[in-house]
């Protein structure tokens, strides 16, 4: 009885994870292209994707690696850029059975990406490990294999196509941010100011020489602190516009 239910839950995870896997395949392809121009091999890029499952984080790390940045700056960049997953895990910790054991918690944790978090938190019922594993079973191969193919095939594609695909990752970031700006005006203001400051940093003489990874970290911490102070989030996690 328990096995049958788990199988059904797993299948539901696979079903909901399919569109994510397809999207991952396309986007990780461009990540693979970036990885290649940063000098990474197929294996290095694929293992990086397999063990990290972050778009923004891997992207930033690849830039730092390409510029021969320090281990410390990679570490700090991952900490700051991926910090949101901590909040997502907190939310998911309320979504699982309180008595869920540590092994499954550790298993679920590995797959906490923006998109998998999205489908998990949207469930009507409690989040069961089988569901997470089902989603991960398709999403992770999508992300990893897409990366590998991007490294391999990137050089076969004509420049025009590669240039177009280079934009895909950024377009995905836009697709994550913009809908939230629509629902939450505070986020909209913060996003616009952040983009302006980011642009400004590329124009100011001394600051434009700071590596992009460091710039991202500094801007993130400063802006998020100011935003938290000026626009605190309402207690229930919903914001009024």
């Amino acid at each position: 009885m328990k096995d049958k239910k788990s199988a059904a839950t797993f299948a539901a995870g696979v079903r909901d994870g399919m569109p994510i896997a397809i999207g991952y395949f396309a986007v990780s392809f461009t990540l693979g292209i970036q990885a290649k121009s940063a000098g990474l091999t197929v294996w290095e890029a694929a293992v990086m994707s397999l063990t990290n499952l972050t778009s923004a984080g891997q992207f930033a790390a690849i830039n730092i690696i390409a510029a021969a940045g320090s281990y410390l700056s990679v570490a700090v960049s991952q900490l700051i850029i991926n910090l949101r997953y901590m909040l997502m895990s907190f939310a998911l910790s309320q979504k699982v059975e309180p008595k869920l054991g540590i092994p499954h918690r550790m298993g679920i944790a590995f797959g906490v990406t923006d998109e998998i978090f999205g489908i998990s938190i949207g469930l009507k019922e409690r989040l069961k490990p089988a569901y997470s594993y089902g989603a991960m079973a398709v999403a992770i191969p999508g992300w990893t294999i897409g990366t590998a193919l991007g490294v391999i095939m990137g050089s076969i594609l004509p420049d025009m196509v590669v240039n177009a695909l280079n934009l895909a990752l950024y377009a995905m970031f836009v697709a994550i941010v913009v809908p939230v700006t629509r629902k939450d005006r505070k986020v909209a203001i913060v996003v616009i100011i952040s983009m302006f400051l980011s642009w400004l940093c590329t124009k100011i003489p001394v600051i434009c020489d700071i590596s992009s990874g460091t710039r991202i970290i500094i801007l993130t911490v400063i802006m998020a602190l100011i935003a938290a102070a000026v626009f605190p989030v309402a207690e229930e996690g919903k914001n009024e516009n």
Partner: protein, 101 residues
């Protein structure tokens, strides 16, 4: 695989996994501080915004096609299209723009 790349990957993977794992495993209480909750709420949007702009304009090597892709991405995400759809449409816009321009 080169050793230094292995180390980079290891560092990335461990930090990222700890970030995802610790709240689910260790902290089962809710964060009470409104300030910290707010900070964590804004971090992803600031990070993604800062990474995207102005880099998206120069991602294609031609600021005009980059702008085309950016505008299409903005419009479609505002209208609520899915992640893959937005990415695909933006790439298509770049391709079309690079042929026209």
């Amino acid at each position: 695989m080169r050793t230094e790349i292995c180390i980079y990957i290891l560092i990335m993977a461990v930090i990222t996994y700890l970030i995802r794992m610790l709240p689910l495993v260790v902290f089962r209480r809710e964060i009470k501080s409104r300030f910290i909750k707010s900070f964590l709420y804004y971090v992803p949007y600031v990070t993604l915004s800062v990474m995207t702009f102005p880099a998206i304009l120069t991602a294609t090597g031609d600021i005009r096609t980059g702008l085309a892709g950016f505008v299409v991405a903005l419009i479609l995400s505002w209208k609520g299209f899915s992640l893959p759809a937005v990415a695909a449409a933006a790439c298509a816009a770049v391709l079309i723009a690079s042929v026209i321009l």
